[in-house]
Assembly symmetry: D2
Homo-oligomer: 467 residues x 4
């Protein structure tokens, strides 16, 4: 649930509210609790049944919204969006939800995921004279909606989402409806809840906890749910449903206090830690986590180990955007400012450090150096997922293959690079063993295995992901 | 050159630069000197020949741009835009220049004026599935460009501008061209200049003075000028050219130090004052202006009068956006904060106050009250244009007809409302007599006469103007 | 009334309000109208009879105050302060009014002027163990007040102001009084007004115009006025009164719409222009001013000249603090951004440009260049005051003697430097002739003559002035 | 290490740096790592050996400082200060370090603690004519320094600190020295470190970890350390030394990764948890902490319990200052926004929740409600310190006695108020048993026992604490 060079970034968090007074404030609370899914920009569109309002901005939810801006988002309908994007394509125009006008009225959409045929769709639309003001998938989807021959907005959206391929959890807003859609593979989560007779959608159930809504069920793979004054109605987007839930949502992205893909994240994460301990035991004194994302996996590891769980690293939660370094910079300042070692815990101990994943390895390497400086006798790394070797085209932002350490080096080389006494990853089997399956869940493991559930167009691979 | 309730608002100021290093900084200086044409938002798009960059924001030019934002606008090509709009439709999405991507690449446009068939164009485009992210004419124009079957960007723009009707001075930017267009009536000004072998376009020549460019000539009515690496090339947009320059540009909008429609604004304005004095003489001690917009007309009046020119009102130039009033508000505080009377000048004098135009009359009425309080013996109002009785659909923002005092009241009633000893307007004939004609200029007087050079669609009349 | 390198800076504007509801808002309006006297910082202290509140900040009045900050300044008593200081000593700690606590309670003071014995006072206080948190004269004065053996606050202030020497117009605030004091020479203005049964003090009467107060009389030289629940009471600070009003207040500092030293500023300024024309006639076509500060003098000049008054330079009123220049900078950009020439007025004309004073000459030189570029046939400069040759120690911020052009060059050399056809200054006699004297006024001319009414300690001369 | 209604607030964190280039940046890093000790304002004063510079502001360290402001703090000497204060007395004037000028030059001081005789000192100083611009103890101390007859600055400071009574860890800055002082009781921590031949002082050693300094020893109770170009020299402030370290620094205030009073905070905190488990065992399934402050105590508890440690509450680290609530507010929103329950962990479990202390009980009560809602079968509270019954006058900000729940209610009443199945506090004996004593440490337990090591003047008790 934190962001650094050593973890992939999630693209977006989305929320929809229908039929509850002050819907925009609920959407605000919702994206607030999903802040970890996108920290670059935030936006909300609302409707009072006659008109769609919106407010967007760069920054955290608490930077973008205040009483005054929220008061300008009236109505009982709202959609919220947190967005992350790489700096290069950071662009105010791209802040979601994207809202446009077309013949049938105003329509907006918040998207979590990534399309794999947006390049060719954009090209086809361009040939018919479409213009693009953003580089988002959302705008492509809205073009398709507007160009559909369907009569109702429901028909038009069905038309559009049948033409797109890839990972998409979507929440649309019109002046009198909220419409949620999830792709047939269900890569990204999307949950349905209720509150005071109204409906709520959110990427993760932790949003429901904050706004006091009750979790009902997930939006199903390949399902479209429409809520309006007539109530809620479900549509089938596609007949062929093949669940391929993103396993990384369980490993790292989602909050431990959320339920996704029909299971508590925290339970799966503890199981990953236990499986890791069984598969890769280690003789040591203590188990520590890289707080906060690997806390639960480390607890799980300790539960199946003789080493006891301790808090050996303290995170500094005041880290802001513009931290100033001295010119004669301490080499590991970026890590130092985020973490400090707890001297009394580390000194003279043999330590197992559990991390959920390794992307570049730079942060972990600096952390190991800090542990050694604090007097650790041995440092053993255990990773609660397999080596990441392949890029993701379904909504995670990894660095390029060249920057993925496990794509470039053998495990022994990584161990030497990190400077640790031993390094073990969880196996694919043990990872999948920890994943819930009793409700027909099945998982995408492309970043570990290179086994992509949907083929990617060549041109698409060159494009930056943008939900 | 100032903004208050008693004057119409101009919609936009536009600038284009081609072939000069640091083009964005020149565009910045250009829109800075055109700040009076639009004070709500500002934007610049630039190109280094390979890519188009942009930066936009709400506020004055000096609020929106700083060294850092300008440094992110590299290249020798740039287009700048100042925009004004009514609060209701104020919207970050609408800030110009509007820049979009289409099949042939990136294209942006800055627009000064107002289309009269945008409603039906928008409807036609909507029926073909177009979506709109702004409510601007610029976006409609870019849709037409993108949908054109023309092969080159020049063909596409020609196609597009032949379909639009109304007032439009346009400057387009692509990654390697600047293209300027002016409508066949030439409602709004647009000048061509040169600097260091490069080309500059601007709404008014005062922009050239600030950036050190040399005025060459106006972009002609119905002309399109393309500048790129091959130099400058002129195209004919329409065969039928009927100049209908906005007479209000001379009366009030443009800076006195600008040349527009082949004449110094200041000269025309002085002539208006002289004609006013000849047509409507007045026995009084002094002539004062409502600073700064009617300064030159007042000087002209005094030159043909026995009363001498004095400075009887001082403007406060520190007036910001959020001026705080006491709760038990002095009734005329809005005027008081902007103007103060010069006691020694006003006391016991018979005063002629020259104003360039009267829209609502509220500000002038409060000013008259202030003059009476300062001891004026008599107050006579002379207006250097005829009564404004009709709305403008070509790029000026007047209040509705109901709020135009001369549309609702007889002149004697207006005099009584203002509380002055006499009130005289300049006649249509005397006004047109002051306008330059030696180069075939001809004028739109619709706001005075109701004689509209281009018919307006009914639906269009209900729409808010948005350049 | 504007600030550039070619004019001295005034130090401060001060306002006091007693016995009127929402006193802080009136103080806000007052310092707003005195913005020209200090543009670096602003502050207000208020009292509701039981407690003193304050709010201060760097920037213009409209930047520092808003509804929220004003709402935290309750009560019927208030003192306001605008401050200017050179960048070097710019310091948030120095923002006035300075408010301190001492045994008798809270006391604050706003000061316009400059002490000439603050160095030695500070030294004496320091020897007794006083500490200083600011470098202002105000803090020295408050130390003297606190250390006085006087029993009442009135006694203590009388004690203190009898020990200070130099220029001082002061307004004190306590929890239940406003106390105004003016030095025996009356260097700086300070006026008394009434509104709704309450009392108002202000540096200039233009503040009364804005808040709707009525001018009563000036605070007399060497007078202390106390207003509290018992009404108003006058005290004599010193028996020996020798008026030495700052002549520069009439020439340049004060607003033309203010009354100071018993006369309308505008009247004196017009007389300066007339005397200048009589003393230094010139054969030319037109008279122009450097707007806005020399407008009235130019009108006066034109009234006694065959050349007619024209507006040949337009000021840009949108100039902000951080104007961005191109790297290959046009040499005269600083002037260009502030002023533009009116082509039709300047071209082929013989021009008299009237300026109120010349400090460094750099701005005027660049302006002359601009006039030449715009086609002026001849340029003659007439200055409505004598050459400035000496520094001021009574509250004006001149550059050092080395930077005063008239202290370094003969008039013919200055003419050559400016690049003009002729240059004439007003003589001392003609200047003093224009000054009102019927009420016993007498003037300080130190900056022209070097004749200082109060001797300056040597150490003091090295200090930066700080009111 | 977090701030809410259920914990006392610490007053300040202080840092000093001598003899290291870019000292201000090190001071910045230092107060950054001490952010938990004061979150309302931050300030740094620096010196390059000839002049003292400073920058201060309201807000977090990362809000107040940026590259530009730090670049204006040159030199090899610096002092930094984080400050907390109650809203009522929040005041820009009070931001530390307080820097003043006196006869011997500029001197500044950062203070952590609280004087108990500042009221009478202020009164004595006032009678001698001293004025006060702040309400801080720091200003009182600087007055005493300036008024001392001592010849050197060292003498003057010794004089001053021998007159003050209470809790004070001080770091002074002059243009060429840093001087650290700690009161004879050593209430607050203050450590000495070295880096690159220079010296560093900080409230906690975690500051040394971030800046890469090495911990040497604590500043001793009643010691003054002077560092200047001659090196380091120690002075004895008082002969009579009676250590009374604040036990709450170990229980809650200091970072777990710091060493204070000669011991790792984390070790003591774990011991508190173990003693708590031994003294107050509980039959339950899991032990959870209120993150992050009671994490270590909870781990310690679990180590001596059959229940295993789990993460049952997730903190939201994005909480900003201006969180917006819906109007029909969920009653427990303040807690909800900070913490969420982890469903899979809580459901159907018997839970022991370990908290470090209870002040008002409101937050804990709301948390318990959340745990019940999440399905907890039983909830038992164990507190790792005794009931807080008395106010602190030595630098902790407790609510008034009336708001201290343990001062108003019996333990059974508190249990009922919290709505838990059982509630146990750690005994005084077991608490003191966990505190290190091998180096002669002794502790202040006033907030638990009412046994105050230094008597408090009656008037002082009414004053708000201000370091």
């Amino acid at each position: 649930m934190y962001i650094d060079d050593d973890h992939p970034k999630e693209f977006c968090g989305i929320v929809g509210v229908y039929g509850i007074p002050e819907a925009a404030i609920l959407a605000y609370l919702g994206i607030y609790s999903l802040q970890h899914r996108g920290q670059e920009s935030a936006g909300i569109a609302s409707s009072d049944g006659t008109q769609v309002y919106k407010h967007l901005g760069m920054g955290l939810v608490s930077d973008v919204f205040n009483e005054q801006t929220l008061s300008q988002l009236p109505g009982h309908i709202a959609v919220g969006h947190n967005r992350y994007s790489t700096t290069g394509s950071s662009n105010e125009q791209n802040i979601g939800p994207i809202v446009v006008n077309h013949l049938l009225g105003t329509i907006g959409v918040a998207h979590n995921g990534n399309l794999v045929n947006s390049f060719s769709l954009r090209h086809q639309l361009g040939k018919r004279g479409s213009i693009f003001q953003t580089t988002t998938d959302s705008e492509v989807i809205l073009h398709l909606v507007a160009k559909s021959e369907g009569e109702t907005i429901e028909d038009k959206i069905l038309d559009a989402v049948r033409r797109i391929r890839g990972a998409f959890s979507l929440v649309f807003i019109t002046k009198n409806k909220v419409i949620a859609v999830r792709d047939p593979h269900g890569f990204r989560p999307l949950a349905l809840g209720t509150k005071e007779g109204g409906y709520v959608f959110a990427s993760e159930t932790s949003a429901f906890d904050l706004i006091g809504a009750t979790y009902v069920r997930d939006v199903k793979c390949g399902e479209m749910i429409v809520v309006d004054e007539k109530g809620m109605k479900s549509y089938e987007v596609q007949e062929k449903i093949e669940p391929r839930h993103c396993v990384f949502e369980f490993i790292y992205f989602s909050r431990p206090d959320s339920q996704i893909f029909n299971e508590y994240v925290d339970k799966t994460r503890r199981k990953l830690g236990k499986n890791l301990a069984i598969e890769n035991p280690c003789e040591a004194d203590i188990v520590i986590s890289v707080p906060d994302s690997s806390n639960t996996a480390a607890l799980g590891y300790a539960a199946r180990s003789n080493a006891k769980f301790e808090i050996g690293l303290i995170r500094n939660h005041y880290v802001g955007r513009t931290f100033i370094h001295p010119k004669q910079q301490l080499r590991d300042m970026n890590v130092r400012i985020k973490f400090n070692t707890v001297g009394g815990v580390i000194k003279d101990r043999r330590i197992i450090i559990v991390d959920d994943s390794i992307v570049r390895g730079t942060t972990l390497r600096a952390l190991v150096k800090r542990l050694r400086d604090a007097g650790a006798k041995e440092v053993h790394v255990r990773v609660s997922s397999p080596p990441i070797r392949f890029p993701c085209f379904y909504g995670m932002d990894f660095p390029t293959k060249e920057e993925l350490i496990a794509s470039q080096k053998e495990i022994e080389e990584i161990r030497a690079y990190l400077g640790v006494d031993s390094l073990k990853y969880l196996s694919m089997e043990a990872m999948l063993n920890a994943m819930p399956k009793e409700n027909g869940q099945s998982y995408c493991t492309a970043c570990f295995s290179g086994d992509y559930p949907i083929e990617i167009e060549e041109e698409q691979k060159k494009e930056r992901n943008e939900c």
